[in-house]
Amino acid sequence: MKIKLVFIATALASTLVLGSVPAQAAAIDMKIGTIHPLTGGNADYGIGLTSAAEWAAESVTKAMKSARVAGSCKITASEDDQATPALAVEAATKLVKSNKVNAIVGPLTSGSTLGAAQSVTVPNNIVMIATAASSPTITKFADKDLLFRTYPSDAFQGKVIVAAVQKAYGKGVTLSIGARNDAFGTALANVVTNEWVKGGGDIGRKVLWNPENATFDSEAKLLTEGSPDVWVIVDFPDTFAKVGPALVRTGKWDPKKTFFTEAMNNEAVIQTIGVSVMAGARGTAAKSIGISADKWKADRKAAKPNTKETFVDASAYDATVLLCLAAIHGKSTKSSALIKSLRAVSGSQGGTVIPWTKLTDAVKAAAAGKKITYQGAWTTAKFDAAGDSSGALFKVFSIDTAGKITSNDADDVRF
């Protein structure tokens, strides 16, 4: 009897001890695919984001080894969508059907995100975390809770642009807005229009252009009609590279009276479009609200020395880390478990705050099934009910005559 009791006690103790050691859990092999523009006018952004996602997966796998958690987190395929919805649908189909990924990081743009989600990831029950898609439409999109994003909504950026214009020119002036005719452009143009009118300003012209137009001279003519006091332009680099010269040719446009959105927050992009077109312009862009962002840039440069940097790269890093931590936390790569655990590790439900610099601790805590607040290099996501990340920080930048971007932290706007 005594021997039996000792045996049972030993067995119970062993179960308890072994149960709390993550190394004994079933291996988690998380397969992630990425979709970003790797060619075309937005390639700089796409290449930077893809490389950041790869580095994140490598870092988590390393942390899993250190934490003695069996398994790995891998980017198994990186697809190029050229920031085009149709190609994003193709890319997502390949990732889901052929590569059999558990989740997707990306796309970069709102149009691609909505296209891939609507046609592929939602019908196939795959979780996707968009890295720079900002359209407010995504918040309301019926995604069965499968679509998340680490980049703030343009519902914020619209307000920041309007505030920046009001600060520079006052509230009662006339603003004309030009935007690309897609999910990103039309939604942000509407937010800016509504906010501007609400603030007592007048809208001169609102011109939407199709990115695949043969020429943009007629659009440029319309946008400069009525001599507005200020312009807001919502576009991507590849299209504005054609719209910009057309605006200059009208003889009525002044870049110094123009505000752009975040896609122009890149000196390489400004050089490509032409410094003479962009000099003197201003703009707004989301900024990291993550922790140790400068250290992240330095560490990333050391890990991936040949990758061109863009301001938003860390967004893909955080998205990838969150997916890996969610898989470890939920002990499953199934979408239903990932959805639940994404909120448990992103801080939506509280929990110990663990920065990206302590990934091993984050992995250990996730493997133990604890709730954590992962503090990323880009954001502390705290995903809300719609899958949007909470909080945002925006900067107001200026482009000087040499094409350099400058900004003042005092002008930053936090939500």
């Binding site: 790797l38 060619t39 075309g40 006018g41 390639a43 050229q82 085009t84 005719n181 011109v207 939407l208 252009w209 199709n210 990115p211 695949e212 137009n213 043969a214 020429t215 943009f216 001279d217 007629s218 659009e219 003519k221 319309l222 680099p237 590849d238 590279a241 054609k242 910009g244 010269p245 057309a246 200059v248 040719r249 009208t250 003889g251 490509t272 479009i273 003479s276």
Partner: protein
């Protein structure tokens, strides 16, 4: 008045590019019954070769254009010899030709990407220079494009109606069997059609690169639908029709923004105007604008 001139000019520039690209597509269809889905990629190829010669190698711009047209002809000639001729001899059907053409387009895109990269390019020309003309701002590059495109359109029209090979092409398009037995060298006609189509594709690409100011490897692909619309508007397989169809399409799209048309059609609806025009024309003339003449080239 200045608005009318401005939109008219913009429309003529766009229309002339549509016309040149569309006539190549139409010629191929009339002679080979082939819908050339790779036509857009010939535009991209032409623009990139001209860029490589004139910017990277710093050769004369006009010389570079001529070489890029020759390169377009060379690629067409190569494809005819290794691909299309064999498919014809093997009696490949319309669907097979259609699929192969799509395959060629899908192959050309990555080849162009591999050879020339994915970055946005621009020619070494002043894209900001403009002239005032009765209040309208006429861009220097666009004026050049309009002049050279008009000359090209005239040359094509004369070639088809006057040159021996042009007449042979018309005869073959009208009745391939009769043309063959009456001594027309079919292989020569087909090769000439490919060469003209390749050269025109490259030329349209250079023109498009000039009017846009900058271009990337997605340039031709994004315009393909408009070229096909121009071909259908002017009657499928009618080269003159394609020329007129292209010009009309460009003009309708740009002029629709004049305020006299319901306050001006919003610019994002330009494709709607183009395709509504196409549907309206086809509703009353299902064979296209030039259908009654039954002219096939």
């Amino acid at each position: 008045m200045s608005d009318l001139i401005q939109y008219l000019f913009n429309g003529l520039v766009v229309g002339s590019i549509f016309a040149i690209a569309a006539v190549g597509i139409s010629l191929l269809y009339s002679v080979l019954r082939l819908v050339n889905f790779a036509a857009g990629d010939f535009l991209t190829l032409g623009a990139f070769i001209t860029y490589f010669l004139s910017v990277t190698l710093e050769l004369n711009f006009f010389f570079s254009i001529v070489v890029s047209m020759l390169a377009g002809m060379g690629v067409s000639w190569f494809l005819e010899l290794v691909l299309w001729r064999n498919l014809r001899r093997n009696k490949a059907g319309t669907l097979a030709l259609f699929l192969v053409a799509t395959g060629v387009a899908l192959m050309l895109r990555p080849i162009i990407q591999f050879l020339f990269g994915t970055e946005t390019r621009k020619f070494n020309v002043d894209i900001f220079k403009t002239y005032d003309f009765f209040g309208a701002r006429i861009a220097h590059t666009q004026l050049l494009v309009l002049i050279f495109a008009s000359a090209s359109i005239l040359t094509i029209a004369l070639f088809i109606s006057k040159a021996r090979i042009g007449k042979d092409m018309r005869a073959y398009a009208n009745n391939p069997g009769l043309a063959s037995v009456s001594g027309i060298n079919v292989d020569r006609v087909v090769l000439a059609t490919w060469l003209i189509s390749g050269a025109l594709g490259s030329l349209a690409g250079v023109f498009q690169g000039l009017v846009q100011g900058q271009f990337n490897n997605a340039m031709g692909e994004s315009l393909l639908l408009s070229f096909f619309a121009a071909v259908v508007l002017g009657t499928i397989g009618d080269a003159y029709g394609a020329l007129v169809g292209g010009m009309l399409l460009g003009l309708f799209m740009e002029l629709s923004q004049l305020s006299i048309f319901f306050g001006g059609v919003p610019s994002n609806y330009k494709p709607v105007v183009a395709f509504a025009t196409l549907v309206l024309v086809l509703l009353f003339k299902p064979e296209g604008l030039f259908g009654y003449r039954a002219r096939k080239v």
